[in-house]
Symmetry: C2
Subunit: 364 residues, 2 copies
Amino acid sequence: METAGVLVRTGLSEYLGISKSDIQDYLTAFLERKKRELERVGEWGPDVSRRLEEFARRGKMLRGALVLLGADLFGRERDGEEVKVAAAVELMQSALLVHDDIMDRDEYRRGGESVYAQYGGLGRALGLPEPTHFGVSMGVCAGDVAIFSAFEILGTLKIGGRSLSSIMSLASKEMTYVGVAQMQDVYLGQSAGQVEEGDIYALYLYKTGRYTFSLPLMLGGLLADAPNRTIDSLARLGERLGVLFQMKDDEIGLFGNTEQTGKPCGSDVAEGKKTLYHLQLLRAAGSTDRKRLTHILGSRSIGNDDISYVRRLVVELGIRDRLEEEMERLADEAHAVADGLGDVDVSVLGIVHELVDFNLKRQM
Amino acid sequence: METAGVLVRTGLSEYLGISKSDIQDYLTAFLERKKRELERVGEWGPDVSRRLEEFARRGKMLRGALVLLGADLFGRERDGEEVKVAAAVELMQSALLVHDDIMDRDEYRRGGESVYAQYGGLGRALGLPEPTHFGVSMGVCAGDVAIFSAFEILGTLKIGGRSLSSIMSLASKEMTYVGVAQMQDVYLGQSAGQVEEGDIYALYLYKTGRYTFSLPLMLGGLLADAPNRTIDSLARLGERLGVLFQMKDDEIGLFGNTEQTGKPCGSDVAEGKKTLYHLQLLRAAGSTDRKRLTHILGSRSIGNDDISYVRRLVVELGIRDRLEEEMERLADEAHAVADGLGDVDVSVLGIVHELVDFNLKRQM
């Protein structure tokens, strides 16, 4: 198959950049129309459209780009419909983040104030009696409006009926999975009880694997009318990419360098985040170490000594090597699945391989 | 046109009862399947499916019944697809209520515990450190899962592509309106500032009119392939039905009898709810009365004397008569729109007229 055009004669980062710009143009135009349309309902209509546009713009739009990548892989002629699906996926992601930030009480997101925090601040400025609750309530609504808008975009797709219904079914079904995965995450975040490795893997699989990687790639594949067998392969590719991405995230959270990540050193340790590293560490440590670890993990008042100690133990007990090997195995599998996708555009396939390597090698 | 069959040779309340039973059967089967499917993601999957099923079951399912009514009006042959749309509409309504209850901190809903309150109780039982926040977080997720599931049901529709896309577009677009209307409601609930009558009407129009009545009727009409002009008439019919319903709600909130409504006498007065009655009262009252009213409206510690005083003033200042007349005018308009719908099933049309009269005359 020939390459799909100049758009894909690029590397991964160029591809992501160009994709983001296309998706952003569509989203901006859509939300600009929405702003005028929602004005009839009341003053908060234009307000929420504007905030969603600004919030979406701040994202990297990786998921949207993966929709385009999935379509380009199979040489789908660009006609604007694939950008709509990508934009819907991005709006959905913004919606989930708006809701997640309420759950995690995150005031900052994507380099700026989170949406619920913006409304909380507005509530304070307006002198409302319960500004924080106002922020939460408006945030829940803003997320809902974003979800509905995402489906509204899908409803405008000008593609065959069969294809619309498979896109709708796939997207909504996978979204129910990510909703449940988020419930698991909320529970694990509060629960002091024993967490099983299986719980962590399930979270990585559904919250990052299937949602962030498989779903967009599959949507792109459906748009390009790829056969069902190939759609299944895209799902498997995405699962590996996502679990790998998440494991790498945990590695960076423990071993990462503050200058590169922008996060305080060992923040996962201080937050007591339930990562595979921490779980395997607690299981493998002797009783003295386990006692000290129990004090350190989740304690906000730890020092650099504690972080170095945790890092050393993870290395000494062979956990770093074991998880590293697992990540390499996932990357190998992902490369192999990508190579077995069949009749694809080779230059787009190159970008897929680059993405696998990026997920394995990234330092931030 | 002939009647659609024995199903519609009934009055309004029988029609609602039969419809609820059909919709409930579908929803129960769907959520039972979902329970098994979501088990893979984690233990909260079956949990949320079960709670949503139980919560939906407690509703009257008026909106779902209106989908069926809209389809039956134009003699659509029942093939099960219309029940899917009705079930999707009901699941969407459950989702909005789950989210609304978080915003209003309503612990009870539909004759039982609200979903977020259930999770809060569970968090306490599990000894989680922040059970209320756990309840809020899980409630946000549960509502999201319900929204996604509703769209998933729409995605399974086996109807022509054109029709699926118009159903998707209409539903998602109207849902963005109700999301914004909910933001208006949240703001009006907290704001001490001047509220305009136009704000109240816009809320009634979008939160009750278009969402509760127009949208389901229009979806039913679309399923029956009714012409665009007729779909517009269904929208107008629903708007009148909804504004009427909401105005009646306010009348009952002020003049209703506790034994019939199950609510404490004058609860809208005590809550300081911004109704058309209260707004017009504050505008029409002389300065002495306005002063007393300002103390009464929204004061939790008012007595029966205060309620009687407010009621008397609403009558004496001619507000009750004026709003009564407006409701009658809306009912007349609704009857006229219904009669102009064209080639419809006359016995189903009878149910529509009955619904208009019910909205005008109901005492509870």
